[in-house]
Symmetry: C2
């Protein structure tokens, strides 16, 4: 269901869900560019922009990448993969650069949601990072950070949960629980 | 200028700028909760939710924290700080958890933007992480990840830049530049 209105950004943040099953529809070139632009406009420490992306739509490459993860079906069923890397030669603080990569990924996931595309952030594939880099002819100075599988969602109700604010937030000092 | 319409999420991602000067207006309790909820609904590997937050509005605590960074004026001038921590006792993969923290921070920054609040993500303060934890009575197992300074923006044109997609993106394999 499309989200509109004054609080569309926050509503999209709250309603976004991981999508793991896609139809056969390709993602338009225009939408791929919109997603990448969202990723590129994330903030980063010193505006360092440590993210690099490889866009994969070739079925044979998708098939090979699907063999690098326990979640083969998700990858093999996606018409579009965006592999996200940290350019370690252009990293100035690993912690801050990895945070920035997370912000960039979240921008892309939110953009997908607004474009009525579904996406899932795959991390387990990092266990096979060298194999992924090899498939993409990518030097290891480019450190695999995530693969996003993207496509048109198969309709289905998707639910998720999060801890309550009272479990996550303190007021003024540690130990003093936040009350909403 | 408020952003509305079909592409509000992507427009907000592209138009968000760091805000470093705030008016004296406090941030409403309702808006603090909206920001925290946006942070809480970020994705994380295994839905691990490694983020923890300390909300600071006490002027004396803000003053003490302002002495932990070269950007004292920004911190001292903000009516609201959200200190973001990684709960290292509940971390399962440092890289993935730090990425998740970045996603959570970006959600909060985007929420601020939609609420017509300004915010800046402060990282340099990590150099004084032990002092920050001490001020907030926070054990060191909670690793400082960032401080967000938030308030009503002083009106001003704010610009920023990013690398072009052709510098960041490859098609199908490393080295094959993306053409928009």
């Amino acid at each position: 269901m499309p989200v509109t209105g004054d609080s569309k950004v926050i509503d999209t943040i709250l309603k976004r869900r991981s999508v793991r099953e896609f139809t056969d529809s390709p993602v338009s070139e225009e939408n791929v560019n919109k997603i990448l632009n969202a990723g590129r406009w994330a903030p980063s420490g010193l505006n360092n922009q440590p993210w690099r992306f490889i866009v994969v739509r070739d079925p044979e490459t998708i098939r090979k990448l699907s063999e690098c993860t326990h979640y083969s079906n998700i990858v093999a069923g996606a018409p579009l993969l965006i592999s996200v890397f940290l350019d370690t030669e252009h990293s100035y603080s690993r912690t801050k650069d990895v945070q920035a990569i997370g912000a960039s990924i979240q921008n892309m996931l939110l953009a997908c949601c607004e474009l009525d595309l579904g996406a899932v952030w795959l991390g387990e594939i990092l266990n096979q990072n060298e194999k992924v880099n090899s498939i993409l002819k990518c030097p290891l100075k480019m450190e695999l950070m995530a693969v996003l599988a993207i496509g048109t969602p198969v309709p289905r109700e998707r639910t998720s949960t999060r801890k309550a604010l009272s479990e996550l937030v303190f007021e003024e000092k540690y130990g003093q629980k936040w009350e909403e």
